[in-house]
Symmetry: C3
Amino acid sequence: MRSMEFLGSHILSIDQFERPDIEKIFSTSDHLLPYAKRERITRILQGAILSNMFFEPSTRTRISFGSAFNILGGEVRETTGIEATSLSKGESLYDTSRVLSGYSDIIVMRHHEAGSVSEFADASRVPVINGGDGDNEHPSQALLDLYTIEKELKSKNKTIDGLRIALIGDLKYGRAVHSLCKVLSLFNNVTINLVSPEKLELPFSIKESFSNSSVSFFETDDIKEGISDVDIIYMTRIQEERFSSRNESDKYKGLMSLNQEIYTKNCEPNTIIMHPLPRDSRPDANELDSDLNQNPNLAIYRQTDNGLLIRMALFSLVLGVDKKIEDSTSEIAWYSDK
Amino acid sequence: MRSMEFLGSHILSIDQFERPDIEKIFSTSDHLLPYAKRERITRILQGAILSNMFFEPSTRTRISFGSAFNILGGEVRETTGIEATSLSKGESLYDTSRVLSGYSDIIVMRHHEAGSVSEFADASRVPVINGGDGDNEHPSQALLDLYTIEKELKSKNKTIDGLRIALIGDLKYGRAVHSLCKVLSLFNNVTINLVSPEKLELPFSIKESFSNSSVSFFETDDIKEGISDVDIIYMTRIQEERFSSRNESDKYKGLMSLNQEIYTKNCEPNTIIMHPLPRDSRPDANELDSDLNQNPNLAIYRQTDNGLLIRMALFSLVLGVDKKIEDSTSEIAWYSDK
Amino acid sequence: MRSMEFLGSHILSIDQFERPDIEKIFSTSDHLLPYAKRERITRILQGAILSNMFFEPSTRTRISFGSAFNILGGEVRETTGIEATSLSKGESLYDTSRVLSGYSDIIVMRHHEAGSVSEFADASRVPVINGGDGDNEHPSQALLDLYTIEKELKSKNKTIDGLRIALIGDLKYGRAVHSLCKVLSLFNNVTINLVSPEKLELPFSIKESFSNSSVSFFETDDIKEGISDVDIIYMTRIQEERFSSRNESDKYKGLMSLNQEIYTKNCEPNTIIMHPLPRDSRPDANELDSDLNQNPNLAIYRQTDNGLLIRMALFSLVLGVDKKIEDSTSEIAWYSDK
């Protein structure tokens, strides 16, 4: 099993990582927890500049990367939307990348076209982190999902080896699910319940890839069956922006929906609930009902908090400061009860 | 009279404050003046992150909050416009708030819906400051207006107790006016001339609330009468974005307009002129003519400068660093003639 | 020959500068190279705030100014697009400027209207740098172009005095070309080949101004002739956003196009290729073919890197810290191979 060299590397796909790499990212995340929790501050990236390039809308991922860089002491220059950029004047991704990489020390990029971030990274003079390229990859999401799974299981004395998980909803277009399937293949004796309308089932290529791993999977369109024997429910949103029309996506909204009553009747006690967010809370979708908000097994906000840690860890490893954090710490002066 | 606890609190409405609270904010603002004037720098909020969430357009308020946080040494992550956010994918304010509050130490939010910021604050894990929710509240504006009134009166050996003020223009939709009326009710012997077209008069509920205070008010649609016997003229813009149509709002534009000639003929000497800005300088509106720009009693830019101080004071008090500013100061290195 | 005082000055037009001023900017840029190359960091502008106001779309220039300010240790507050601002509520540039200059220590502004930035600067209480006003001026672009010319020539033991350069493409609307022509007039024995379709030729007023200088110029619409006897090719994009319609601009796209074959057949060895960027790489335009990307004489990315230096130099000179950079330096902690 090879292990990757993080220093100066691009982070483009979950495929880059073997188990030792993932363990390194997770132990780095653990180590950074006091800074995310605002117990101490570090200025280790003081003077460094992140170009946070979001050519496709995003709140959570964009701010999470930006805040992660700020917490490490660096500065953030940001671009949102494609209209306001040189790409709209016919500039190639190659040129945008060559130029921008002269202005910054690291780049995070999201773009609606699959493969665009890799193309961008090829031309870049600084490390590039994929913040999501169309329905293709979103590696930091897969890492934060896996990190959350590990932490939640640990609190119940379980490990990812042996995990039973239900993936529910839009398994066709949800890139978070695709990446999560890939990374779960690195572990032993994982059982996956694939729960979706038939038309939104997991792409064949991913199911096929399970045959090279110790993953067992089962498919169903019955959510009650799917959630009955798992450690973790991973719910997803119908990715309406990837469908040919809103009419088409509306057919599937609301078909896979979980609330406290269904949970209580069908799940094992303390089954953990995750979601890559945003969850669609409009009445016609409502994949995770708000009556679950008080359920202590609802891990969705712990999941986004973990996202901040994972992104801090990626920056630290790629920029080679993971062993130097303590060189530049001090007390926080302001009030915080995080 | 109760006094609020600032530490870790949300700032949502001018109704939260009693006179001692306001005095505390104002004395903190006074204390922060050398930093706003660039005589010294402080880094007391080094490492802290503000999420500056403007779901509705704003230049002045957005940049003022951001700069205030920067001057105190903190970092700013910013979102502008609603299209580019998860809210457009059906995410609830509850989820947006839970998630974002994990990425930041304090949040400023503006949103077009009345009540939205309170709903957001209820879900937040960090303090939230209302940057304006529809036609409802904009507490930092009311505070900076009142602070300006106090400072301008002081230079003339007067106090807010005993103030005579004319509120002019769109008194129906102008939230700055509504909040200012509320806060003036805390003072003694205030006289308010309400000057507006009949259809844009101050809401009945606010006029009614004056009966529990020592405020006297008079209503007129004659600007010359309204400005003749006051210490301060507070002019406002027709809030065209709150009307059902542009046609509807255009009816009222230009009806209440002040220029140097009207001022000279009708006002007492040295009557102070304020405006919450932006002033509409298009010929059909022109509520404050540009020939007033050289009038030393035009306080509109002193007013926005005070806004920076008030926002610095709110951040300092809520984050509990108001007594620690000096712990982290140094000389500025660059040229400034502020 | 007068020399300008940089301290506290606006940078509005290339016309402000005489040769000693330009030499000062260039030597300051040279001096700042270690910081742009990430060999050391400086925090000299710690606490200072740049308002980066881009009322017209820009990626490169906006990020370049922002990063330049960050590298010097300052903070950046940013506005992009005109819709989201008070200008859309009828606020005058005068008011926007008075207000904003109270929130920041220096302002960079881009706006689609020629002359708007000067008007803005007149009202400002802090220095303003023109980031491009319509088809009028973009002084930092002209400076970075000239700086690149000097450095590229120096590596070939040549100087700007005696330069032979071809300006190619949209010479009518390209403000970068206009400013470059002005600044080249300050040097001795410069020869300019003006290569454009007849309808897009250089404005008469600029050609006329050459008569007061030692510039010789020649006009042609034959690119092969134009590039045959020069040290530097300066290619430009058809500025489609300045034409009355897309139909109109499309007539000229692709007429002036350079690729490796044309270069090899027609140019002197090691002719340098520049472009103000963005280059339009769409097949119908393609002014500089991507087969030139491996040509070591393609200086377009060195040019944008120089842009960062020039902007750092302008900030340093205007804010008076050019002699103090070393007062506040330290080692960088993170990995960089710039």
